[in-house]
Structures are given as C-alpha cells and as structure tokens.
C-alpha cells in the first residue's frame, strides 16, 4: 500500500471511529468529544502556519474570536440565521487575517511572535471597549430558538455532535489535501529554508500571506462553529490564553502532522478536565505540559511516533 493510500486510510479511519463513537460513549464523553472536535479545527488551522510553514504566532485568538463574534454578533444583534451568520464569521476572519497578515509578515522570528501577541491583545481590548455590543468578559448567549439549520436543532446533543464531526472532517481532509498539493509542499520548503525557496523563484511573502489567511479562516471557522454549537460568545476567547492553547495542542500532538492537532486537543482537554476537578489551580498542568513537551518531546506524540516507527505518517 502506498504512503498516500495509508494516509487516506488513517484520515477516513479516524472519521469513521469518531462517527461510531457517539453510539458507544456515554453522553458526558460524547459531549466532550464534540467540543474536542471543534477546538481541533482551531488547532489544525494553527498547525498549518506553525507546523507546516514554521511561523509561530502568539495571536491566533484574534482569528478565532473574529469567527466567534462574526457569527455571534450577527445572530445576536441582527437576528441573522445560522448559515449567513457562519459566512459572516468566515468573512470576518478572512478580512482580519489578510490585514494582520500583511503587517506581521514584515517581521520575523521573535519579533513576529511579539507582534502577533500585541495585535491579539489590541483585538481583545477592542472587544472590551465595545462592551455595549459584545458584553465584554461576561459575553452573551445565543438563543436556542435561533440555532436551527433546516429544521435540525443544533442544541440537540446528537445533531451537535455530527455537525461538529462534519466540519472537523471537512477541515481534516481539506488540510490534508492542501499539504500534499504543490502549495503545501512549498510551505514546508519555506519552513525548511526560506532563502533557498526564494532563490528557487517562489514569492515567499505572498505564499506566507496565503498561509496566514488559510490558517486564520480555519481558526475563524472553529470560532464560529463554537459559538453556533455551544451558544456562547465572550471576550475570554480573545485572551492570550486562547492564543497559547492551540500552540499547546499542536506541540503536544505533533507539529506538522495531520492528526497531531486532534490528538493534542483530545489529550489536553481531558488532562485539564481532570485537573480542574482536583484543584483551583488547574492551569498548572498547562504550564507543566508546555515545559515537559519542550524539554523531552519536541516532536509531540504523533511526531514522535512518526520519527520512531511510522515514517509514512502524514
């Protein structure tokens, strides 16, 4: 079996397992899994930029919340129905990532990380400043009655689960396609040796901008999905912490692997869930995990499996 068909098998297999899991798992865990699939979309969007292009952003919460508020505000204030509101979320993320991408790509390395952090912080403060509409940290809930698509009630656990699965699958397969395509190969080339890629004739800045935009829109899609399925939007999602989470998920799962973001998100979701039952200071596990992964598992879970055992892993 070729490596390509093996990776198709892996992706379709994961989707099938998730589709069946709903019937097997108790309600509590299938609810969790729906959340994990939504945040894994965020992690996958982040991974395109960090894992494949080699750009470490500390400001992706800006793109996530662009999607979150793009959908949320349209439904909350303008009474839009979910589908147009979802499109509004994507467009918001597109515009924000295009503008921010244009600016941040003038910097590299540590300056890039700090600039992304600063823009995201400005975005968070802007959400607070317009607290009249966004309700600031407190946030707002979306009415159950409005969260319907073609007669399906998105607040129903089953509908919610499969809606999350559909969007997760589209993102997983779409990104797997992108990274196999010439565009994705070029991103990896830029990660490996930017100057060499430029001197092969690639317009590195334009390609990186495309990567920021795709990454930003996917992150925004995750935010919009979150607001739609869980019915809540709040400024907490725009804080630095929510920029660090996707970095954490991707590092734990394995940067530059297709299924790593999901694995990392799943692992950290349950770890934080477990720790928050034990102590008020549950974010301690976030810190300890970040340090341990940096020290001992630089390739993450899936990345380590790839290096040690399965070279074909996508």
């Amino acid at each position: 079996m070729s490596d390509t068909s093996k990776s198709h098998g892996l992706h379709l297999g994961l989707i099938c397992v998730l589709a069946l899991a709903y019937f097997v798992l108790p309600a509590y865990h299938s609810g969790n899994l729906a959340s994990v699939m939504v945040i894994a979309i965020y992690a996958m969007g982040y991974n395109l930029l960090f894992g494949y292009t080699g750009l470490l952003s500390l400001g992706h919460a800006l793109f996530f919340s662009a999607g979150l508020y793009g959908l949320g505000l349209m439904m909350h204030l303008a009474d839009w129905t979910p589908l147009p509101a979802f499109a509004a979320g994507l467009i918001a993320a597109l515009v924000v990532s295009a503008v921010i991408g244009f600016l941040i790509l003038r910097t590299t390395g540590v300056a890039f990380m700090i600039v992304t952090l600063m823009f995201a912080q400005a975005g968070y403060l802007t959400i607070l400043y317009f607290g009249k509409y966004t309700r600031g940290d407190e946030g707002f809930a979306l009415q159950q009655a409005s969260r319907q698509i073609a007669g399906y009630d998105l607040t129903d656990p089953g509908v919610r689960y499969y809606c999350a699965l559909v969007l997760f699958s589209v993102t997983l397969l779409g990104l797997a396609y992108i990274i196999r395509a010439p565009f994705g190969r070029t991103l990896v080339a830029i990660r490996e040796n930017e100057e060499r890629a430029r001197m092969l004739g690639y317009n590195v800045t334009a390609i990186k901008l495309k990567a920021v935009i795709v990454s930003g829109v996917v992150s925004g899609a995750s935010g919009a999905t979150y607001a739609l399925l869980f019915g809540y939007a709040g400024a907490t999602f725009a804080t630095v912490q929510y920029s660090i989470f996707p970095l954490l998920w991707v590092l734990v799962g394995g940067a530059g692997t297709t299924v790593g973001p999901f694995v990392g998100a799943l692992f950290m979701f349950y770890l934080i869930d477990y720790a928050s039952g034990k102590t008020e200071a549950y974010l301690l596990v976030v810190g300890v995990t970040l340090v341990l992964v940096t020290l001992f598992l630089p390739h993450g879970i899936v990345g380590t499996i790839r290096t040690r055992f399965l070279r074909w892993l996508p």
């Binding site: 190969r185 990896v188 490996e192 040796n193 060499r196 092969l200 690639y202």
Partner: protein, 238 residues
C-alpha cells in the same frame, strides 16, 4: 547579450563593495569571475540575481531591465543561483528538493515534474539517494544536489557561487565534466577560486579587484596579464 550591467555599485554604510561595474555576458558562454578575497564577487552576483539591492546602476537580463525586480521574479525569468554556503532543504528528501526546483517552472503538471526530477537525479548519479533526507547527505553530495536544483529549473543563466569549494579532487573532476556538458545548454556564470577549474571550463574570464573590473579576457590572456598577477600576488593569493 543575455546579461548586461552598467555602473552597478553597492555601498555598505559608505564603503563600496562594488564600484561602477560594466559587465556583458553573451548567451551560451561559460564565464568565470575571479579575484582575490573581498574583491566583491559575491556582492556582484548577488545584485545580478536580486538577493542584494544595488545602490545604483542597472541590470539588464535578456533585453529587459530587471534592476528593480525582486529575486523571485528574476528567477522566474530564467536565472538560477546556487549559494556559496550550501543551501538545501535539509528536512526534505533529495527527490523533493529537486522537485521543488522543477515545480516552479512546470507548475501543476505532475508527470512533467516527476520526469524532470528523475532526469536530473540520474544525470547527477544520485538516483540511489533520492529518498534520503538531504540533511543526511555528505557535504559533497549536498553540493551536487544544489547544482541539481539549479539544473531542474532549466535556467537560461546559471549562476554558481564557488561551487567546488570543499569538494574532493575526484568530485571536482566530476564537476568539470558536468559543466562542460551544460555548456551547450545554457549560459553559465561562475565564481571560482580553484584556478584549475577556471582554466578548464571557462571560455572567458572577468577579474574583479577591490570591487572594480580589473581585466576581461580568454584564459590565456588572463594568465598572461601582468595587472592580474599583481592583484593576486599583491594580496598574497596564488
């Protein structure tokens, strides 16, 4: 003339690395640029391919002024460049390194990219290493791979910055043979320290000294040129 420069000058904080270089390269020629260390050779080719912005002067490639074009646009128009310090994609397989170079010109035509890649790999005798990581290759093979990436671009002007630096003697001979077979296909601009290589492959030589053109001529003429000898001996170079 495939390449012409007029008055090409680069100044770093007032210190000139190149001063008013006028340079003409006819299509199909194999040209060597020689000169003592610090003569401004790498800066000069850097300005030709767009890595280094010129302070003033013009670069004309294939009849068009490319002075203001960014590097990737010049490469697109048919230049290729190999780095003085080996520069490959270390974490990617050898085959993918070459394919990345081929893809820029051949676009989404997968079969054409594959054919071109295979052709280059076999021409350089590295087909058996196609699936190795480029970073795991020996230094000599990395240099050869980088030349291969240039070949895969099918350039009309192939710029090589000290390609034989650090190669073993047998590898240098392979390199000479390769350049001679390329001679018929493309124009070659070569910065080289190894005078054996220069005398063997170059049809014409330009000597740079202190950022300026000191002499132009055939290998025989350059060998006999007193000013060139002075420049080399004066700076303690053989």
């Amino acid at each position: 003339m495939i390449l012409t420069t007029r008055g090409l000058t680069k100044a770093y904080a007032g210190v000139k690395a190149n001063t008013d270089v006028d340079f003409d390269l006819p299509a199909g020629q194999t040209r060597a640029i020689i000169g003592p260390n610090g003569a401004g050779k790498s800066t000069f080719v850097g300005m030709i391919c767009g890595r280094i912005p010129a302070t003033r002067g013009t670069v004309t490639f294939d009849g068009q002024d490319v002075t203001t074009l960014p590097a990737h646009k010049r490469i697109e128009r048919g230049m290729a460049y190999t780095f003085q310090i080996t520069s490959v994609f270390p974490g990617l397989p050898v085959r993918e390194n070459v394919a990345l170079a081929a893809r820029r010109g051949l676009g989404r035509n997968k079969a054409a990219v594959r054919n071109k890649t295979d052709e280059v790999l076999s021409r350089l005798n590295i087909s058996d290493r196609a699936d190795q990581m480029a970073g795991d290759l020996s230094y000599g093979h990395q240099r050869i791979l980088e030349i291969g990436m240039g070949l895969a671009q099918e350039p009309r002007l192939f710029i090589l910055d000290e390609p034989t630096q650090g190669l073993a003697e047998s590898e240098v001979e392979d390199f000479n043979t390769l350049i001679k077979t390329l001679d018929a296909e493309t124009t070659i601009l070569l910065i080289e320290h190894n005078m054996n290589v220069v005398m063997e492959v170059a049809e014409y030589i330009t000597v740079l000294d202190q950022g300026m053109v000191l002499a132009n001529g055939t290998p025989q003429e350059i060998r006999a040129n007193a000013a060139v000898q002075e420049a080399y001996l004066g700076s303690g170079h053989a």
